[in-house]
């Protein structure tokens, strides 16, 4: 096995291209800038195209166009840029165009806008939140697979630690199974030929192939997301069977929580961890089961409380749930702050366990 020492950003780009990504359009924004830099360098070498768009809105709509033509296409930014893209992401969800959005966030304040369906209409976005570069290499490929499988936008949720840590990795092409034919992709056949294809947000159609109309179309879209919710929820957990305290966290935060919980376990503390791997669909049933017997559920996230809503919706007794995270940035405001530290997390878990034992 030959490992290469890669920045997280470069590993993600290599994995995306290995998965068949051939189009990327975005606008530079720290810590997502390296992503477009590596895409600009590497996509042309693989027969692809990378465009530095004038805005995030332009970038996501270019990706939408490339995906409509059948290419594996992506855009990327950090949370502020993701907010600008939400209208186009809603369009992609409602007109069933598979795009991938790499959100290299500055923090963990994007949980809501990634998981709630940030634009108009009844839809959600599948959101993958890798804990480290090894998992990011898998998720960067899985994102394209799930997008194509369900014809949906998929958000890849990273952060500055994931983007800038360097690790020895080997990028292998992952096989996630067969995919349906893209019999919907626009192929250049023009109107009037009787064979043109159309992608509709409103469920319209054309004279010789009328669509279902808005109401039926949007109902079917909503049902599709219900179906995905029942299939694609992923999680990772350990020590929950006899844990008195179960700690949850996502992405990098989940990695840190896991590390601290393993340390506390080795010291004899009855503590477990639960990490949603998909933020949507949220692995609610698994969380309910993992927290059945515990006394308290702690939520570690670097925001004022976003994932905690999903935790409270799924833990049987929501009074068991409390937050041990908070808003925390570094001085620049562009990166995760001092709270993303195993020593701080450890202190907060131990303090909460002490209160719970009283």
């Amino acid at each position: 096995m030959a490992l290469r020492l890669l920045d997280g950003s470069e590993a993600i780009v290599d994995a995306a291209i290995t998965a068949g990504a051939r189009f990327y359009a975005g606008y530079p924004m720290s810590p997502a800038t390296e992503l477009i830099e590596f895409m600009a360098k590497k996509l042309p070498e693989s027969g692809g195209v990378c465009i530095n768009a004038a805005t995030e809105i332009e970038g996501v709509n270019m990706a939408l166009g490339a995906a409509a033509a059948g290419f594996r296409a992506a855009t990327g930014s950090c949370g502020q840029g993701l907010a600008l893209m939400q209208e186009a992401i809603a369009e992609a969800a409602l007109n069933e165009t598979p795009i991938v959005i790499f959100n290299m966030a500055r923090n963990q304040q994007d949980y809501f806008q990634a998981t709630r369906g940030g634009g108009w209409g009844d839809y959600r976005t599948i959101t993958l939140a890798p804990k480290d570069i090894y998992e990011a290499v898998e998720h960067a490929q899985l994102a394209f697979h799930l997008a194509d499988k369900y014809r949906v936008p998929v958000i890849f949720m990273g952060d500055n630690i994931l983007a800038r840590t360097q690790m020895g990795v080997e990028i292998e092409k992952r096989d996630f199974g067969a995919l349906p034919e893209k019999d919907w992709q626009l192929d250049g056949t023009s109107g009037g030929s009787g064979a043109s294809r159309q992608i509709w947000t409103f469920g319209g159609g054309k004279t010789n192939a009328p669509g279902p109309g808005p109401s039926e179309h949007w109902k079917r879209i909503a049902e599709k997301f219900d179906m995905i919710a029942g299939i694609e929820a992923r999680h990772e957990a350990a020590f929950t069977d006899d844990a008195q305290t179960v700690v949850t966290g996502f992405g990098t935060g989940g990695l840190f929580v896991e590390y601290v919980v393993r340390e506390l376990r080795s010291e004899g503390h009855k503590v477990g961890f639960f990490r949603p791997v998909t933020l949507w669909p949220f692995p609610g049933e698994a969380l309910e089961k993992a927290t059945e017997n515990c006394r308290q559920v702690l939520v570690f996230e670097l925001n004022a409380g976003q994932m905690i809503d999903d935790v409270k919706l799924n833990v049987t007794d929501r009074r068991k749930v409390s937050a041990i995270g908070g808003v925390s940035f570094d001085e620049s405001g562009l990166n995760l702050g001092a709270l993303m530290d195993a020593r701080v997390i450890r202190e907060r878990i131990l303090a909460a366990m002490e209160v719970s034992n009283q």
């Binding site: 096995m1 490992l3 290469r4 020492l5 480290d132 090894y134 630690i161 800038r164 840590t165 360097q166 690790m167 020895g168 990098t252 990695l255 840190f256 590390y259 993303m340 530290d341 195993a342 020593r343």
Partner: protein, 197 residues
């Protein structure tokens, strides 16, 4: 097991280059590696720390290390950012002229290396970091000095290629300046049998 190391100094001393050289050398020897940088503002004169984790298996350590078992100190300035995170019994490899100014640490095993003097003799005092890398490799056996030389050559940017020979002399002189395998690190060992470097 995983060997974890802080390299600490002042921006401009080549701290990140030393970290990357060690990491690349380990990769070339078939090891798993994680490398991160912690900067006090990405500039010359500020605090700069490189953290390197090397293991026989995929890395389990966190990207910002809560603690480590070894440190290379190129300067006493800003070293407190590292000293508070060293586990008891850690190896501290200190540049000789700054060693006396290091902050108090719990039970360190300090080894000093006259890295500035050796680097000056090798042709450039700026190669002190390379001397320390060579010394660390020889003390621990974690990578061979030969691998360090190859890794250094791989990543010195084109506009600094004139420094390659000096760097190589610095690495090899650093390795010879310390007793070989005085702090051996055995990576191919189960976690339970962990031996501190």
């Amino acid at each position: 097991m995983e060997a974890d190391l802080f390299i600490s100094g002042i921006g401009g001393q080549g701290v990140q280059l030393v970290g990357k050289t060690l990491a690349l050398a380990a990769i070339n020897e078939g090891r798993h590696v994680m490398l991160t940088g912690e900067y006090g503002g990405h500039m010359r004169g500020g605090s700069t720390i490189s953290t390197v984790v090397i293991g026989a298996e995929p890395i389990k350590s966190l990207p910002n290390l809560p603690s480590a078992g070894a440190a290379i100190a190129l300067s006493h300035q800003f070293f407190e950012n590292v000293a508070t995170r060293l586990r008891p019994g850690s190896l501290v490899l200190a540049e000789e002229t700054i060693a006396a100014n290091l902050p108090q640490m719990a039970d360190p095993r300090v080894t000093t290396v006259p890295a500035m003097a050796i680097a000056t003799q090798a042709g450039n005092r700026m190669a002190a970091g390379m001397v320390m890398a060579g010394a660390y490799a020889a003390l621990t056996g974690i990578v061979s000095p030969d691998s360090l030389v190859v890794a250094m050559k791989e990543q010195v940017p084109a506009y600094r290629r004139q420094h390659i020979e000096t760097n190589e002399r610095a690495i090899r002189a650093g390795a010879e300046a310390v007793p070989g395998l005085a702090f051996p690190v055995v990576l191919d060992m189960a976690d339970g049998d962990r031996v501190e470097a």
